[in-house]
């Protein structure tokens, strides 16, 4: 197989499983009722995959441990709340400000924009927020970066939870502990408005489409100049900088792009769940997404996809339906313990983190380069983070 044609054929062969899997995912909702809970669980799962792919850029590619990723869920969902509900009642008069939405949504007070505009808004908001959060971490080392991002995530969570006390003019930042609800149905240009009350399938396909875009961007980024710069910085900051990799720009791009993907998914979840509930913006969510990235394999795009799907499955099916209902739950009750696995689901994710790090730090489907770093010690040790620009 030394000819060019042979190589090309081989490359296609390696793509085949991915294509088959994607087609299978596309057909997935047709096997269930339009309102089946499996479909909505799967829709959430795909949204989590988008989150995990975003976090993978920051943690996996650039090697910056971000423990405050929930901030971008918050900003993305809040953007959807601001731009697709009656949160800003009175803005633009009785029928509100509207663009590209159904006549029903247009007649409501508040701001109602087309979903595509909301996604763009969320990308802009989150990319800016990501860069701002990233800015103070530029001079810090690995573990300090983790703490600063964690602190930002917590601050933003608090601000969202107490946002009813922050008033800008007549309008609050958020609804505080109450949700911003209802949020408009998803509305794509040329497709029209969805109706989650009668059919969830379109939501599944919508998030699948978003995922494909994010996946494509991810794959192209990985092989791009920027992607290689991220890996170079991760492996040896001093060497990378002296080879001419612009440190500030490269790191900020990682934060901003990772955050933007989080924003896309956050905006989608806000619309899909029909409400923005600030109580969800907890540290646990950051860990949930991080566990997906670790499980799949830091820096490995397909690994992260698998890790995210697996953990979503654990979260929405295995824990509530199998462990708590099935023979495991019965066994737990038989030996006299009184608890449900749902209570301790985050303990399960924590356990996965520890187990993976101790036994198989490179993840289920490792990226080759990362595996070498993690197991054989190329570019490991302190010099990985010690470097100062």
């Amino acid at each position: 197989m030394s000819t060019l044609g042979g190589l090309r054929q081989k490359r296609w062969a390696s793509w085949l499983p991915a294509v088959v899997a994607l087609v299978a995912v596309f057909l997935f909702p047709l096997f269930f009722d339009p309102l089946d809970s499996q479909t909505s669980d799967a829709t959430t799962a795909l949204a989590y995959v988008v989150f995990a792919l975003g976090l993978n850029i920051v943690v996996g590619f650039a090697g910056l441990l971000d423990l405050g990723y929930v901030a971008f869920y918050a900003f993305g969902a809040l953007t959807a709340g601001w731009l697709a509900s009656d949160h800003f009642t009175g803005a633009g008069g009785d029928s509100g400000i509207d663009f590209g939405v159904s006549s029903f949504a247009a007649s409501l007070p508040g701001i109602h924009l087309n979903f595509l505009l909301i996604v763009i808004g969320a990308i802009v908001v989150c990319a800016i927020a990501g860069a701002i959060i990233g800015l103070p971490t530029l001079r810090l080392r690995g573990d300090y970066i983790a703490i600063v991002t964690l602190a930002f995530g917590e601050i933003i969570g608090r601000v969202a939870q107490n946002g009813d006390e922050i008033k800008i003019g007549d309008y609050a930042f958020s609804n505080g502990r109450e949700s911003i609800s209802p949020i408009d149905q998803l509305n794509f240009p040329f497709v029209g408005e969805f109706d989650s009350a009668t059919n969830v399938r379109p939501y599944f396909w919508a998030v699948f489409a978003l995922l494909l875009v994010v996946l494509f961007v991810n794959l192209r980024l990985r092989d791009s100049r920027l992607g290689r710069a991220w890996v170079a910085l991760r492996e040896d900051e001093v060497a990378a900088v002296s080879m001419g990799v612009p440190l500030v720009k490269t790191k900020l791009m990682a934060y901003a792009i990772g955050a933007a993907f989080g924003g896309i998914s956050g905006a989608f979840l806000g619309v899909f769940l029909n409400s923005v509930n600030a109580n969800q913006f907890q540290f646990g969510f950051s860990i949930f997404i991080l566990a997906m990235v670790i499980l799949g394999g830091l820096g490995s795009i397909w690994g992260v996809v698998i890790g995210a799907v697996a953990l979503s499955f654990v979260n929405s099916y295995l824990i509530p339906d199998v462990l708590d209902q099935g023979f495991v739950g019965d066994f737990v009750k038989d030996i006299g313990l009184d608890f449900s696995f749902q209570q301790v689901s985050f303990g399960v994710f924590g356990f996965i983190l520890v187990l993976m790090m101790v036994l198989r730090p490179e993840g289920l489907l490792p990226e080759r380069r990362r595996k070498i770093e993690l197991t054989e010690g190329v570019g490991t040790g302190e010099d990985l983070y010690e470097a100062r620009a």
Binding site: I287, Q343, P361, G381
Partner: protein
């Protein structure tokens, strides 16, 4: 783990000014809250009693944060790991203490002598329990990862923290739980110029001072303490000098755990409630304290703990409890940006 003290290159011009601004700017920022509210008090009430009460409560809370912060600082000083699970060790310490109330038959009507003896025993047992837990965590979760990239033990630490939180949920349920107020914590002991000192304040400060004294003496005077400092400075060289590095690291976790256990029982007596999430918040607050003082520096951790305690009390009392974590984390971020080496800015190996 190699020593990584990169000798700093020739300092650029203006570095001195930056140093000055970062140090005194931080001190000014820390004094801002008490000063502003002191002035407001003087204008409104004509005296400083309210601020004084904030300071006393802050001091006693700060004593608890200082005990936890010492654990962070010890561990960070020696293996450069933010032991995320440390706050949860403190939480388990509280839970053990509460469990011992029942075992030792301590109730609100126990006599003074029996209570003192019982609480002393409970203190010792909680300290032992927390320290064994901490040593065990190190053995199981961190030691296998020595030599791995720093990301790995950090992620493991976060995982352990979550596991312990959920152990807490299984043990005592998911909501805050009121426990017997054995020492009548809020009863006033004495009052000076409108500033009341409660029993809880006195207890926290009286238990903390000897513990901190013992710890600093141990670390600076004893042979094992010397081994700890040597390992912190350069693990490789320490090993060559015949120091058993693994044992020394275990010892460090042991000491941190002892202090966390003590903090746990003081917290239980002081707040008269325990819950699984107390460790997460306390851990972050104490970490902020450790960084504020200068991580790796024992005196710094105590100083930072007290300062954070005061800030926290003022925020609780004036701004609103729901905003306190945000205020403290904002301080954390600001310190990280402008002065990652902390207030007592010794050039340690760790300082960013």
């Amino acid at each position: 783990m190699e020593a990584a003290s990169v000798s700093s290159p020739a300092r650029p011009r203006g570095a001195g000014a930056w140093e000055f601004i970062s140090k005194y700017g931080l001190i000014a920022l820390l004094l801002a809250l008490p000063t502003v509210y002191g002035v407001i008090d003087l204008v409104n009430d004509g005296n400083l009693a309210r601020l004084g009460n904030n300071l006393v409560a802050g001091l006693s809370n700060g004593a608890i944060w200082a005990l936890i912060a010492l654990g962070y600082t010890l561990v960070y000083g020696i293996i450069e790991l933010i032991n995320f699970a440390h706050g949860e060790v403190f939480m388990i310490g509280s839970f053990v203490a509460f469990g011992l109330y029942g075992t030792l038959g301590l109730t609100e009507s126990t006599g003074a002598g029996g209570l003192a003896l019982g609480l002393f025993v409970a203190l010792l047992i909680s300290m032992l329990a927390a320290s064994s837990l901490n040593v065990m965590i190190e053995r199981v979760a961190y030691r296998p990862l020595r030599g791995a990239p720093k990301l790995a033990p950090l992620i493991t630490a976060v995982g352990v923290s979550f596991i312990l939180q959920n152990v807490g949920i299984l043990w005592r349920g998911g909501s805050q739980r009121g426990i017997p107020d054995l020492i009548q914590a809020q009863r006033q002991l004495f009052e000076i110029a409108g500033v009341a000192v409660s029993r809880a304040d006195a207890l926290a400060i009286l238990v903390t001072i000897p513990l901190v004294f013992l710890l600093t003496n141990f670390v600076t005077r004893s042979r094992l303490g010397k081994a700890m400092r040597a390992t912190a400075q350069d693990p490789e060289a320490a090993r060559l000098m015949g120091i058993n590095v693994d044992t020394t690291i275990s010892l460090t976790f042991l000491l941190g755990g002892l202090l966390a256990g003590a903090a746990g029982i003081i917290y239980a007596l002081y707040q008269t409630q325990v819950w699984f999430f107390q460790g997460f918040t306390a851990g972050l607050i104490a970490f902020t304290a450790a960084v504020m003082g200068g991580i790796g520096n024992l005196r710094g951790a105590v100083l930072g703990g007290v300062i954070i305690g005061i800030i926290q009390q003022i925020a609780d009392n004036r701004i609103g409890v729901q905003w306190t974590p945000a205020v403290i984390f904002a301080y954390l971020v600001i310190i990280m940006i402008f002065r990652p080496q902390g207030l007592i800015g010794e050039e340690t190996r760790e300082a960013g």
